[in-house]
């Protein structure tokens, strides 16, 4: 990843990890990001960890936003940070959201587990995407825009 100037467009990769085929929320996320001025590389559904890594390399992405809706997020996301490390992108910004775990679990505990796995941010179900975008802008030092 190159150091970017404040005004430069930030590139983010999105996709639904694992064998998960819930596309609707992921598309809404993509649209919200584009609306907010990000360049989005949408990988769609059933995205393997390697695909996220490869896409981030070619597109020189600043962040990767992983969706997981079907309850297997914990299994699917394990080792993702290591794969980026391995590919020389160890410092890439990693975000995860959706329905990360099965059933009702204490969010603080779920969040702790995903952060320990190497994600920079994890979001609970029903999160307001405006907040996600605000955080992302701040985390990437991206230009603010009225959206």
């Amino acid at each position: 990843m190159r150091a970017r100037r404040g005004t430069e467009t930030r590139t983010v990769v999105t996709g639904v990890i694992g064998a998960d085929c819930h596309i609707v929320g992921n598309r809404i996320l993509q649209m919200a990001l584009e609306e907010a001025g990000f360049k989005v590389v949408p990988l769609g559904i059933m995205v393997a960890q390697e695909e996220f890594v490869k896409a981030a390399i070619e597109t020189d992405a600043d962040a990767v936003l992983v969706s997981s809706l079907y309850g297997q997020g914990e299994l699917d996301c394990q080792g993702l940070r290591d794969k980026f490390e391995e590919a020389g992108l160890g410092r890439i910004h990693l975000v995860v959201g959706g329905n990360l775990v099965v059933g009702k679990q204490e969010w603080a505990e779920v969040e702790r587990r995903f952060l320990a796995m190497g994600f920079d941010r994890a979001y609970p179900p029903g999160i307001d995407l405006r907040r996600v975008i605000e955080d992302l802008r701040r985390d990437l030092g991206a230009p603010a825009r009225d959206g």
Binding site: T9, I45, M46, K54, E58, T59, D60
Partner: protein
Amino acid sequence: MGDRELWLFIDFGSTFTKVVAIDPATETIRARVQAPTTVSTDITEGLGAALRLLEREVGAGATYARKLACSSAAGGLRMVTVGLVPDLTSEAARLAALGAGAKVVGTFSYKLPASDLARIKDLSPDLILLAGGTDGGNEEVILQNARGLAALDLAAPLIVAGNRVVADEAAAILRAGGKEPVVADNVMPEFGRLSVEPVRERIREIFITHIVKAKGLQAAERFVEGILMPTPNAVLNAAVLLADGCPGEPGLGELVVLDVGGATTDVHSVARGAPTDAGAVVKGLHEPYAKRTVEGDLGVRSNLWNVVEAMGAQAPPADPEISPHAFRAILERFARDVTTTPESAEEAAVDAALAGIAAGQAMRRHAGSLEVFYSPQGPLSVIRGKDLRGVKLVVGTGGPLVFSPFRSRILREALFAPADRASLRPVDPRLCVDSEYTMFAFGLLGELDSKLAVRMLKRYCRPMDEGTGNGR
């Protein structure tokens, strides 16, 4: 008839120089002759020999108003491609080079270490394609690779077709190293989307301006108007013309051309390759509509042992009965001389068995694949590459296929097999043969008169008989 105006199309092949004379007035092939290619001495000697044979067929006094050529002599157009991620920009660059009719002798990825650079120098390619990064994507790798290639002691021209943000900078680095780079549009401007046409165009231009001379073929240009393209490019052109037609002359629709040769087997698909199962998830690159792949390890002469290996435990063909000993002897005779043609029923059967294996393997590697995952609500299909199951026409070409009495059997080996559902090959196409083995000529003819080329392709790509096929 002798004083008719004819058009000549010449293929300086690796083994034979082929000359096809077409009568544009009657839209017929007047003659097809061949003589051994003489590239190590003077390319025009072999051409002269072929032309003398031609004169014998068409009689003296014919005038040759147009003379166009293609070439795969002197090793063909040997290219090295460099990209970033192996199955992304590296694959895009490889597909672009293949589509231009090149022989890809090396594919490289990521930052090139000294050992890769040394390997590229050893390969001594005719042309290098440097890609890497989507537009606005990775800049670092293509720039570093430009620096590495700039310092390399190699005269080959280069095409830069990577991240457009730094393409000019990469070209400047190469120029500073005394290289001759040209810049083309990125082979993968956006993630997953290929754009191979602009690179193909640049490759063709460089072929005409640099490669023909570098290969010592320019002597032939005293006789022909131009050596316009590598031979496989002419065949792909013909495939596209036959499929798409041109304004005023409809084509036959999506198709696959399978070219079985002595050293390689080429597959050209002119098809979108959209998934035929509703609800399938498509992964990977969106491959080009006109896609060529070449299997450099699958040929029925110089690469015969690879084909035999692929045959595995499969017994030699049953009819006629051939003993393992006789089978071996035939293989050895074929392997010794690339120009050998079958001389007995047994040899024809062995030849066809080899060609069938090569055809099947080449088509399997060209076509997309299907993987089924089982999820709580049932099976989920994931398709990678082109789904060719719905393609309704397969055309066979290449000497070992066209001249085989078993040609429809060979071609059927390339089709979808219930035992191998994962390989998305055509299920139930019509089978045709390039009956006079003149596809390259129609590809060149397309440069002069595309309507005529489409009509002649439709006439000379003839339906194959069912059963054992009819030999010649």
